[in-house]
């Protein structure tokens, strides 16, 4: 199993979500993050300017079975890209074990619903 962590633009979320569903990825989690980027933007506070440019991004975390890794990455790149600086990154890492809390199922099994396997 692999973990895919993608940092994407908030405005591309709908596209990414739809594209993932297209390729059969139905479950994932996401949350708001802020990114530090190169392009500094000045902040103002009552006439004092200070520098803390952060940009809002969405972190998407998907754990997939190995065989689904490629298509998932491709789906994200295809749907999250705008071609402009700031499109974000995708990082892949290894997951040693997974459990489904409800049933206690382990491993690959915990990641799909039996009988619904695409």
């Amino acid at each position: 199993m692999k973990k895919i962590e993608a940092i994407i633009r908030k405005s591309r979320f709908n596209e990414v979500k739809n594209e993932l569903q297209e390729v059969g990825i139905d479950f994932f989690s996401f949350w708001d993050v802020r990114g530090i980027g190169k392009s500094r933007q000045e902040r103002i506070y009552r006439g004092i300017a200070y520098d803390t440019s952060t940009i809002e991004r969405l972190m998407i975390s998907i754990i997939v079975r190995d065989k689904n890794l490629d298509k998932t990455v491709k789906a994200i790149i295809a749907s999250a890209s705008t071609g402009n600086i700031g499109d974000g990154k995708i990082f892949i890492s290894d997951i040693e074990q997974a459990y489904r809390i409800r049933t206690g199922e382990m491993g690959d099994e915990s990641l799909y619903i039996k009988g619904e396997e695409e």
């Binding site: 103002i44 506070y45 809002e56 705008t82 402009n84």
Partner: protein, 448 residues
């Protein structure tokens, strides 16, 4: 646009043909000695404060509906309108809107006599009054009350081009629009010299001057500035719905000043205006909830808040003229029409009126103005009746006033847009739209 021009043209012709334009001038009867009455003044000072509150309220109503990255931009726009229009109003606006002038311009715009409120002193009695000839309010209170109307009107437009306008372009637009559109139209309808006023157009608290005026400007701006990027027409999720409700609640509260204050006295007319305002609003809110329930099996918070605002808008011009029946009818109608305007017509026409400034204020204002011509009853103010009280003329006059306002405001807005777009520019860069206006236009983010 074309259609609008066309139909208002027809209306105009009908009226001319049918010779329906006698000067039903509501001339001031010679009054004994008007004096400042503490009771009326007490109410009108408070009403003025209440109308002031509507601009922050609107800021939250709108601000909650946009995405998190653009909320400060909305708040900032409303706030600077409050500041700049106040100055504009004192310096020149009041004089142009409510002052008189000589010669050809008299029915169309005031002159500069009252610029800087020149010559108006602290104990002057208001020359304008509606329901009490003698026991009046200070002139200054009337000026302030009207100032708050001048502020909120351009603030309504903000909803149309939200999330993609340059602050500088917005600001220039707003100032010019106030001078070239709001002040003249207010003069036409509300000044004792105004040609629509003399024609007998009824607009108790600002259906034509405020809502139609702002609504059509909103539509034109939305069409010209274009859609937001990357949405494919799907609506964005409001970032803070409690703020929307807070805004709607405060708007409802403040609107009691707006409508019940527009009689300029604390009397039965104020009470009646309060009653129909509250009733029409409740009806419209409830109707919208029912529509949501029917169409989606559940009523939504944004929906009921929108319905309430639509009701407030539509009852505005009618508040001093209609009774309970009229109020309920207006509430139902405006909610039904706006519901479909917003949920069916807008998506089909495909323009991006971000927060439905046209769909709610424009459409609601038109319904209100027309409904005034239908439901006005002499049971409220003896001198005024509408179609259902046997005075079809009134309806035509209302249509005319509506049409004229749509055309005038629409055309000038169009011209202003083009000029500003060519000079200082009006739409932000894609990157700024993507990352949010708050950071790039104001150097701040709302929540930290």
């Amino acid at each position: 646009m074309k259609k609008l021009l066309y139909s208002s043209g027809i209306t105009f012709i009908i009226i001319l043909l049918s010779g329906l334009v006698p000067l039903m001038a509501q001339e001031a009867t010679p009054e004994p000695k008007p004096y400042i009455d503490a009771g009326n003044t007490a109410w009108m000072i408070v009403a003025t404060a209440l109308v002031f509150l509507m601009t922050p309220a609107l800021a939250f109503f709108y601000g909650g509906l946009v995405r998190r990255k653009n909320v400060l931009n909305i708040l900032m726009q409303c706030f600077i309108i409050a500041a700049a229009i106040t100055l504009e109003w004192v310096i020149i606006g009041y004089s142009q809107a409510f002052g008189s002038s000589e010669g050809f311009l008299k029915p169309f715009i005031g002159d500069f006599d009252w610029a800087f409120l020149n010559g108006i002193s602290i104990n002057d009695v208001s020359p304008y009054y509606i329901s009490q000839a003698e026991a009046r309010i200070p002139h200054i209170v009337f000026i302030l009350f009207q100032c708050m109307f001048a502020i909120i009107t351009p603030a309504l437009i903000v909803g149309a081009f939200a999330e993609r306008i340059k602050f500088k372009g917005f600001f220039i637009f707003t100032l010019l629009w106030a001078l070239l559109v709001y002040n003249p139209v207010a003069h036409w309808v509300w000044s004792a010299d105004g040609w629509l006023y003399k024609l007998g157009a009824l607009d108790f608290a600002g259906g034509t001057v405020v809502h139609i005026n702002a609504g059509i400007a909103a539509l034109v701006m939305a069409l010209l500035i274009g859609k937001r990027k990357g949405l494919n027409g799907s609506p964005t999720t409001p970032h803070n719905i409690p703020f929307v409700v807070l805004g709607a609640g405060l708007l409802w509260f403040g609107w009691f000043g707006f409508n019940a204050g527009s009689g300029l006295a604390a009397d039965g007319l104020a009470a009646s205006a309060f009653l129909v305002t509250h009733l029409a609003t409740a009806t419209a809110a409830f109707t919208w909830a029912i529509m949501d329930w029917i169409f989606h099996r559940m009523p939504s918070t944004v929906g009921i808040a929108t319905g309430a605002v639509a009701g407030l808008v539509a009852i505005t011009p009618a508040a001093g003229f209609v009774g309970i029946g009229g109020a309920i009818a207006i509430g139902v109608i405006v909610s039904l029409v706006c519901f479909f305007a917003v949920s069916h017509i807008k998506p089909k026409l495909g323009y991006d009126d971000t927060l439905d400034a046209f769909g709610v204020h424009g459409v609601g204002g038109i319904i209100g103005a027309v409904a005034t011509g239908i439901f006005a009853t002499p049971a409220i103010q003896g001198a005024y009746s509408g179609l259902l009280s046997g005075n079809p003329k009134q309806l035509l006059i209302q249509l005319l006033a509506t049409g004229v306002t749509l055309v005038y405001s629409g055309v000038i807005t169009f011209i202003l847009f083009k000029i500003i777009d060519k000079t200082s520019g009006i739409r932000v860069d894609d990157r700024i739209e993507e990352e949010g206006l708050d950071i790039y236009e104001h150097g701040e983010s709302a929540y930290n």
